[in-house]
Structures are given as structure tokens and as C-alpha cells.
């Protein structure tokens, strides 16, 4: 295996953006029949390296080598011709086209200049079977959940029968079951001699699937070695360059006090007539497979989608907030999962994003008070360790820093209830720790924190209480010692668990 020649290599590649170096002389070699892990915190340069390998970007210096030959003028088209396929972290599907059309897009079989749908469906059916896609092939992608779309994305890459397959955080939106299918698939491909590059923030997946690892830190390779004999701690040490200690803050001894949220017969979107409550001082986790109503529960409580309840008490009010402004006025804030589309105004500066909810409050005589605003912004940036110039557009920030901005903007209104949807998705470990600590402090200060998460360890170690949703209903409510990965996953999958009070 190791004496084979690498299919795809980057040799001493450099790449910068606007004079800001991102990759500083990186080497990586992908061999056939090996699953290679690429690790690194956000902003370490992983995405840039993938873009170089797939021809989407050109290196400033250094070269891309395919089958031992320098690639020369390398473009996405020549990468495809060389059998290199990428499953993007950002979904690149066309919502209105069908599953089959999306998978075949750009490589349609033709007959008399028209798309040959019969041949297309035959080819597509094969790859769909491989990835476990059972939906009808002519179904529009718009009707699929996020996890299923990711699966289509994987099928699309496979349709081209790649020799090199690059997977950029493919499991971040997949359910446990879908992730399992993907893992089996990767093993099959590996045994068939495909070279795989796997990027993930989930270390247990990396350990289970990969045999070799390249670690990036600040645009340099800090580790390039076999994975055998390295445990999770060791991997984290390679990534952050020091001992990590515990990721999760200890639970506080203080008992939760007054009830802040109490709803009965609550329905919103996919959520059907559930009862839910939360008290000041606790962190309540909402778990379940992807798309079981977790997001709709938060949005309904936030007044962002229509919701109804037979009985509702939300911080001294006797009804649900009817719109977002009413929720904000009642001290409820929401941090969405999709930072780029829902959480932040990307082209605008850090400062304008942070100040957006506080604009009206800080204005005097109808005019904005610039000095009060910049004071507040500087304060929040310091408090949340958002580094650098606050005049930069947020799209220039790493995922972790973007998430801090999305959180920071709510602090000035002193919220009593925080609703967070997957706040650590695509966030590096160091920032994760900061966010966990911040959330725990919020709870200790007497706020109610409700967090929906697809990351089960997060629910287990961070939350005081976990509500598992399944098909829009409460499948289990776990407390204290009853919270375990097994109990959460079991309830999410519909497996009967002893000791779980439904």
C-alpha cells in the first residue's frame, strides 16, 4: 500500500488572500487505498488546501502533482478529468432540479443532443444504492432535508467514479444512521483503491475511519503521520499545539430556580403538541436525529414561525411571542445554526453586525450615537475575544469568530432566555471551549439556556437536562445521571430505554 505512488500531491504550496498568507509551504500526498484525515482548527487553511487540490484556486507558489506529473495549468475541469471529486461542506445542489439531474449535472449522458434520462437514471440508481438514497430519483432536491441533500452531494461525487475523493466535513449535517452508511461506503471505496481525504471536526470519526493524518495549524503542517497509536487527546494536542484539559466546564451546583418557559400542547412547524419547560439557571439540551423538529421548537418559541399552544408561560407573559421583536422585548434571543444565511449579514462589518439589535436602544433623538456604539462594540469584542479590526466584513472571519459575533450581538439586551441552534457546528475546538464556558456562565447568572445540537457529546457533558425529539414529539426527557450518549441515541432512533421517562 505504501509503496504505491500517490495519486494526488501538493508540494510546498503557498497561497495568500489580499496579502494575507493562508498556506505557507504545505505538503500533502494522497495514496490509493488509504483514508487520509486532514485536521486543523478553523482558519488553519483546510478549505484553501482543498480548493487548491480541486483546482478551484491556483497556488501562488509550489505545485499540484497528479500521478507524479506536475499538473501545470490546473483547473476544476482538469481536476475532474483526472478523477478528482470533492464533496463540499457548502452544499452545491440546485434546489429545483431532481435528485437524478443534480447527480448527473455537468456529466449528462446525451442522445441526439438531448439528455438521455434512461441512461442517467440507470447510472444514478447505482450510486444511490451505494449511499443509501432511497427517495424517488425525480424528486426535487428542495423537498429533501439537509442530511439527505448531503447524501445527494456524496452520490454526485461518486457518479463521476473518482480515483480521489475529498470529503469536506460530510457528516456535520448527517444523522447517526446516515453517517454509518457513509463510513461503510468509505471502507468499500478504500478497498477498491480510491484515495480518500477526510476532513472532520469529529475526532471519533477520524479515529474510526482514517489511517493517516495531516494536521494543519496556521497554514503549516504540524503533523503528518500514521494514526495508529494516537488517541483523541494526542490529535487535539497536534491541532492546538498544547494540552487541552477538559473541553466542557463543570456543571454548577446551584439548583435551577423559577420557571422561565412552560408550554403545553405546543405546535410549530414539525413540532406537534409537546409540553416543554425550562427554569432559570439550567442548560436544556434538545437532541434527536437531524430534522425532527428541533429547529422549529426554537423558532416557535422565538416567534419567528407561527406557533400555538394550549397553555404558555414565557417570562411573566401568558402567551407565545407573536413575532421576533416581541420575543426580544421579553428577553428571548436566538442564535441560528446557519450563521452565513440566518445569523449574520456577511458583507457587513463586525461592528454593524454586533450593533444591529441595539440600534434603536442606543439612538438619541432619532440619531445614532456613534461614540456609545463604538464603546459597546469594543467592549463586546474584548469580552468575547474577537480579535482584530471590527471594521472587517464578517465573511472574512473564521467559523469560530463568526459564531462569537452572532452571540455577541445579543449580550447588550441582557437576555433572560437564550435559544441556540447547533452553536458549535463548524467551530474549532478552542472556540468551542470558550462557547461552552460562556453558556455555563450564562446559566450560573440565572439565565435559561436552551441548546439544540447534533453533537451528542455536547448534550451529554454540557446540559443539565436533555429533551430528545422524534418526529416532532418528545421521545425522552433525560436528567442528571440518566443523560448518556446511549440513552440519547436510543431515544432518537426509537429504541426503548430503561429508565428514560418519556
Amino acid at each position: 500500500m505504501t509503496d504505491a505512488k500517490p495519486l494526488l500531491e501538493a508540494r510546498q504550496v503557498f497561497r495568500g488572500f489580499f496579502g494575507n498568507p493562508v498556506l505557507k509551504g504545505v505538503d500533502i500526498a494522497l495514496y490509493p487505498g488509504r483514508v487520509h484525515a486532514l485536521l486543523g482548527e478553523n482558519g488553519a487553511g483546510k478549505s484553501t488546501l482543498i480548493n487548491l487540490l480541486s483546482g478551484a484556486l491556483q497556488p501562488d507558489n509550489g505545485e499540484i502533482v497528479i500521478d507524479g506529473q506536475p499538473a501545470g495549468r490546473y483547473s476544476p475541469a482538469s481536476a475532474r478529468a483526472a478523477g478528482i471529486a470533492v464533496v463540499q461542506q457548502e452544499l452545491s445542489l440546485t434546489a429545483n432540479l431532481s435528485i437524478a439531474e443534480n447527480i448527473g449535472l455537468g456529466a449528462f449522458p446525451r442522445r441526439f443532443g438531448l439528455i438521455d434520462y434512461a441512461t442517467l437514471h440507470r447510472g444514478v440508481r447505482d450510486v444511490c444504492a451505494m449511499v443509501g438514497l432511497t427517495e424517488p430519483l425525480d424528486m426535487p432536491v428542495a423537498d429533501l432535508s439537509l442530511g439527505r441533500r448531503q447524501t445527494v452531494e456524496i452520490a454526485k461525487a461518486l457518479y463521476r467514479k473518482p480515483r480521489v475523493l475529498i470529503l469536506d466535513e460530510p457528516t456535520s449535517s448527517l444523522s447517526a444512521h446516515e453517517a454509518g452508511v457513509l463510513a461503510d461506503l468509505m471502507v468499500t471505496l478504500r478497498d477498491q483503491g480510491t484515495a480518500l481525504l477526510y476532513i472532520s471536526h469529529r475526532l471519533n470519526e477520524v479515529q474510526a475511519l482514517c489511517s493517516h493524518v495531516t494536521v494543519l495549524k496556521d497554514g503549516k503542517v504540524t503533523g503528518n503521520q500514521s494514526l495508529s497509536g494516537i488517541d483523541g487527546e494526542g490529535l487535539v494536542r497536534l491541532m492546538v499545539g498544547r494540552e487541552t484539559g477538559d473541553l466542557f466546564p463543570p456543571r454548577s451546583a446551584a439548583q435551577p430556580t423559577a420557571t422561565r418557559i412552560m408550554v403545553e400542547g405546543f405546535s410549530a412547524g414539525a413540532v406537534k403538541e409537546i409540553s416543554f419547560s425550562g427554569r432559570a439557571g439550567e442548560i436544556v439540551g434538545i437532541g434527536g436525529l437531524v430534522g425532527q423538529g428541533q429547529e422549529d421548537l426554537l423558532l416557535g418559541l422565538y416567534g419567528a414561525i407561527p406557533a400555538k399552544a394550549t397553555k404558555a408561560e414565557i417570562s411573566d407573559r401568558q402567551d407565545l411571542p407573536r413575532h421576533v421583536q416581541a420575543a426580544n422585548a421579553a428577553g428571548i434571543v436566538y442564535v441560528p445554526a446557519d450563521r452565513k444565511h440566518e445569523g449574520l449579514v456577511l458583507p457587513h462589518s463586525i461592528a454593524s453586525n454586533i450593533i444591529l439589535p441595539s440600534l434603536g436602544r442606543l439612538a438619541r433623538h432619532g440619531l445614532r450615537d456613534r461614540s456609545a456604539e463604538s464603546g459597546l462594540i469594543a467592549d463586546l469584542a474584548r469580552q468575547l475575544t474577537i480579535k482584530g479590526d471590527v471594521g472587517r466584513p464578517v465573511q472574512a472571519l473564521s467559523g469560530g469568530n463568526q459564531q462569537k459575533v452572532a452571540l455577541a450581538k445579543w449580550l447588550p439586551i441582557n437576555p433572560s432566555i437564550l435559544l441556540l441552534n447547533d452553536p458549535t457546528r463548524g467551530v474549532d475546538i478552542e472556540t468551542k471551549r470558550e462557547i461552552y464556558l460562556m453558556l455555563r456562565n450564562f446559566a450560573t447568572e440565572g439565565r435559561l439556556v436552551i441548546i439544540a445540537s447534533s453533537d451528542t457529546p455536547e448534550l451529554v457533558h454540557l446540559c443539565d437536562r436533555v429533551v430528545v425529539l422524534r418526529e416532532g414529539r418528545v421521545a425522552a426527557e433525560l436528567e442528571a445521571d440518566a443523560i448518556s450518549e446511549e440513552a440519547i441515541v436510543g431515544a432518537a432512533m426509537g429504541v426503548e430505554q430503561a429508565g428514560a421517562a418519556a
Binding site: V324, Q325, V345, L356, P357, L359, A363
Partner: protein, 313 residues
Amino acid sequence: MNIVRSIFRNPPLLTLTLVVAVWVIASLTLRGFGNYGHLRYLLELASVIGIAAAGQTLVVLMGGIDLSVGAIITVTAILLPLISPAWDPTGLVGIALALVIATCIGLFNGAGAAFLRVPPIIMTLAMATFLQGLLVIVAGGSAVTVSNPAVILLGQSRPFGIPAGILLWAVVSIFVLVLIHRMPIGARFLAIGANPLAARLSGVSLTRNTLLLYSLSGLFAGIAGVLVLGMNRQGYVGIGDPYLLTSIAAVVLGGTSILGGRGTYAGTIPGAILLVTTTALITVVNASPGWRSIMFGGLILSLLLISGRETRR
């Protein structure tokens, strides 16, 4: 070199530089162009476009477009003489009534966009068509002559030698610039323009701001209508038509992103002047109306290409 680059990076400054360059070159080469009287006349013409484009700038910043600007100008210019009450010697009541009507038309546009979820481009186009039909019925195709003293004063008087229209434009400019850059609502418009979903989840009310936005656009179109009427002394069906495309062109020339979320009225001001200047130059070289339109289109396209402003999104 650095100065040149920073000018190219800053669309309002680029447009302003272009206006100054065109004025200087034309003054040196064309007899009579550089006269104070001629330049003042150009600014006076630009003031109508500039005021109509004030509302358009706000709408485009928030990611919409208002195709009823021309129709609202016409409505104001035709209805004002008809509704000015005879018992009011100043004529201010008539102006106020006309502006209220213009604002209400805008509010209607906003309501359609906010409550019925009709895309602004369709809503305002339908409104324009509707108003045009209504005007043909009301005015019957004949011109209406204005006798309202305040309107005539606005169109004809020159305090300190400066036409009142230019002064009105200056007041509107200051108000709009303050609104965009110094008032919370300006920041909210921009946030909605760049990402409506994120803005809504951040507690910015889409409904309220949409209503306000289109009302403002209607109001500014109404003000432009009053000014046009004063300058022409007559209102007729079609009087506002030239101002629809020029208002959008002035916004785009000024570097405001047609996709919303980025831009400023500071660019629209030189944009409006540039449009009027180009028209004047084309008239001087005796080009036919066909060529005039072709040159307009070419100018807008080339300016967009020079600054490459839409590529970096």
C-alpha cells in the same frame, strides 16, 4: 497611483471625478458649456432626477426596486392643480395633499410587498400601470395648467441666484444622507438589503421597514413631481416617464449595489449630474434620440465594468 486606486475603489468618488472631468473638458472644448448659467441649468435639471432617485436609492439599498416612481411623479403633477383648494392663497395645502397622496401610493406598494408578498418589481410595475390608466380617465389626455403660487415659486424663483429646485435637492440630500448614515433605520435598511433573514432573526421588523421604505420612496417621487410641475407649469400624462429609468441609472452609476445591502446616496448625487451632463453633451453633438439611449446604456455599463463593483460579492 495610490490615489487613482482609491478613487477606483470608491464608487461615489469615481462618479464625482468623472463628472468634474467631463465638465472641465467640455468647458474647454465647447463654447458656452462652462457658463455659470449653463452649469446651473444642468444642476437644476439634475435636481428632479436626484430627488426621485433619493427614494430609489433607499429602495435599492434594501434590495428592492420601485418602478412606480415615474407614475407617482405624473400623478402628483396632474392631481396637484386639480386638488389645490381655491380658499388657500399660499398653495401649501395643495402641495401637502399631493404629497400625502404620493406617500399613500408608496405605502400601498409597501403593503403589497410586505403583506401579500408580491415581489417589489411586480408590485410597483402593476401600480404604475394602474395609475397610468387612472390618469388617462381623470385627465383625459389634456395638459393641466398650474396656478398654485407655491408650486410656481418653487419652479421659478432664484433666491441668491440659485434656483429653488437645487436648494430643495440640497435639503433632500442632507436628509437622506443623515437617514442612511446617522439614523438606526438606515442601518436596518442596509442589513435587510444584504440578508433579510438574518436581519429578521436579529429583531429587525421586515413589515414595518418595508412599509416605511416604500412610503418614503412615494414621498420623494411626489416631491420630484411638485418640482417638475413648477418647472413646467403644466402637468400631463407621461410627464414623469423619463424619470423612472434615470432614477435607477443614477443609483447604479453612484455605485449602489443593485442587489442591495451596499451603497450610499452620496454616489447617487454625482450619478444624477452625470446623466444630465451626458444628455446635454449628446444634444450638443446633435445625436439622434436613438444614439442618446445607446450612449446612456454604454456609459452605465462601462462605469460598472471600470469599478468591477459587483464581482467581489
